[in-house]
C-alpha cells in the first residue's frame, strides 16, 4: 500500500507540510509505504495551455511535473496539502493542479481511491481552497473517499504545538490506511 503526499507549501517545515508528514508517519506505522513530495523543492512550471495537449505523447514541458504526476497515478492513497495564500491554494500547488490537465486530455485516471486533503490558513480562505481541491479531486480521480483536515496556524511551526490539528492529521493517516484495506 503506497501513500503519496503532495505538499504545496513553499516551506519544507511549513504547517501544512508538517501535518502531511504527521499523517504519513501514522500511515507508515500502520504498514503503508509512504512518500512526501514538497513541490517547492522541484521544478513544476505552470501549464502553457497548448490547444493540442491531447496529441502529445508526453508533456511538452521537460520539468519535474510529469514524474510527480506519474507517482500520483501509481499511489493507492494521495494526500494533498496546502497553505492558504490569498484565499486559495498556493501558486506552487496551482501549477501542479493545472499541469494535471495532461492526465485529463489523455483520459488517464490515478488509481488512488482514497484522498486526504490538508489545508492550513492564517485567518481565512480555507473554504475557497477546499472548494478548489474538491473540484480538482472530483475531476481527476475515479471512485474515492475524501478525508479532510483543516485549521488555522499563523506562524511557521504553530501547527506543531496545536494538539488538535496534529491529532486530526494523525487520524487522517489512519483513516486513509483503513479505507484502503
Amino acid at each position: 500500500m503506497k501513500i503519496l503526499a503532495v505538499a504545496g507549501s513553499p516551506r519544507i517545515k511549513g504547517n501544512s507540510t508538517y501535518l502531511a508528514n504527521v499523517a504519513l508517519d501514522e500511515a507508515e506505522k500502520l504498514g503503508a509505504e509512504t512518500e512526501s513530495i514538497v513541490l517547492s523543492q522541484y521544478r513544476v512550471n505552470p501549464c502553457q495551455g497548448h490547444d493540442d495537449c491531447g496529441s502529445f505523447d508526453t508533456c511538452v514541458q521537460k520539468d519535474d511535473a510529469p514524474r510527480i504526476l506519474d507517482k500520483m497515478c501509481q499511489a493507492d492513497g494521495v494526500i494533498i496539502a496546502t497553505p492558504v495564500y490569498y484565499y486559495n491554494v498556493s501558486a506552487q500547488l496551482k501549477a501542479f493542479i493545472d499541469r494535471s490537465y495532461f492526465l485529463y486530455t489523455h483520459g488517464r485516471k490515478p488509481k488512488a481511491k482514497v484522498i486526504g486533503l490538508i489545508v492550513v490558513a492564517e485567518s481565512s480562505g480555507i473554504e475557497d481552497a477546499l472548494h478548489t481541491l474538491g473540484q480538482y479531486v472530483d475531476e481527476t480521480f475515479v471512485k474515492k473517499e475524501v478525508f479532510t483536515v483543516s485549521g488555522y496556524a499563523g506562524r511557521c511551526g504553530d501547527a506543531v504545538s496545536d494538539i488538535k490539528l496534529t491529532r486530526d492529521a494523525s487520524n487522517l493517516g489512519r483513516q486513509i490506511v483503513e479505507a484502503l484495506r
Binding site: R11, S40, P46, C47, G49
Partner: protein
C-alpha cells in the same frame, strides 16, 4: 490616469487578451492612458514564504516580478484577466497574486481602481472572479463602478467590477456581444471611478 492591463493566460491572442484589450481601448477612449502586459512574457517565481518583505518592504526574489511591482505602483487602475484553469485563475496569475504580499502590510495598492476579466470554457468562472475580487479587496483596491448616468440597457450590459465570458476556441469571444458589452462598460466605469476618486480625495483633504 494610468490603467495597467495584465493578461494572465499562457496563450498569446487568446480570449482573455481580446477582452482585456477591449477594456483598455474603452478606457482610453474615455481618457485613460493604458498599457497591456502578457504575463507569459515575464518570468515570475511563486512566493517562497520567507516573509522578509514584512520587514524590508521589498521582495528578495530577483526576477521579472520586480518590473511588474513598479508597473503596479505607477498605475492608478489595474485590470487583471485570467482564463479559468481548474476552477480558479491560472498558476501564472496565482504566482503573481501571491508575490504581491510585499504590498500588503502598507496597503500600497490601496485605492487603486480594479477590474477583473475571467474567461471560462464552461465552469469555474464565478470562483475565479471571486478569487480576483478577494485579491483586490485584500489590497483595499476599489472595484470599478459605473458612476455616471446609464440607460437601463447599458446597465444590463455591465457586470459590475469586471467581465465574465464563456469561450472555448481561441479568439471565439470576438463574436460574443455580451462579453464585448461588459468589457466596454468596464473600461468606461474604470475611468469614471478614477475621476470620482480624484475629486473625492481632494475634498477629503
Amino acid at each position: 490616469m494610468k490603467l495597467l492591463g495584465i493578461v494572465c493566460s499562457p496563450r498569446k491572442k487568446g480570449n482573455t487578451e481580446v477582452l482585456v484589450k477591449l477594456v483598455l481601448d474603452s478606457a482610453q477612449k474615455h481618457g485613460a492612458e493604458t498599457e497591456i502586459i502578457n504575463i507569459c512574457d515575464y518570468d515570475i517565481a511563486p512566493c517562497d514564504g520567507c516573509e522578509s518583505c514584512e520587514k524590508t518592504g521589498k521582495c528578495k526574489i530577483n526576477d521579472d516580478m520586480q518590473t511588474i511591482y513598479a508597473k503596479f505602483l505607477k498605475s492608478d487602475a489595474i485590470v487583471v484577466g485570467s482564463p479559468v484553469y481548474y476552477w480558479g485563475v491560472t498558476a501564472q496569475a496565482k504566482a503573481m497574486i501571491d508575490r504581491t504580499f510585499v504590498f500588503r502590510k502598507e496597503r500600497r495598492l490601496r485605492n487603486k481602481v480594479a477590474g477583473a476579466v475571467v474567461v471560462a470554457r464552461d465552469t469555474g468562472a464565478s470562483a475565479a472572479f471571486s478569487q480576483l475580487s478577494d485579491f483586490f479587496n485584500l489590497h483595499r483596491m476599489i472595484p470599478a463602478r459605473s458612476i455616471g448616468p446609464r440607460t437601463a440597457d447599458e446597465l444590463a450590459r455591465e457586470r459590475g467590477g469586471g467581465v465574465i465570458a464563456y469561450a472555448d476556441k481561441r479568439g471565439e469571444v470576438r463574436g460574443n456581444e455580451k462579453a464585448i458589452g461588459e468589457a466596454e462598460s468596464l473600461g468606461k466605469a474604470i475611468v469614471e471611478t478614477l475621476r470620482m476618486l480624484q475629486s473625492g480625495s481632494q475634498e477629503a483633504r
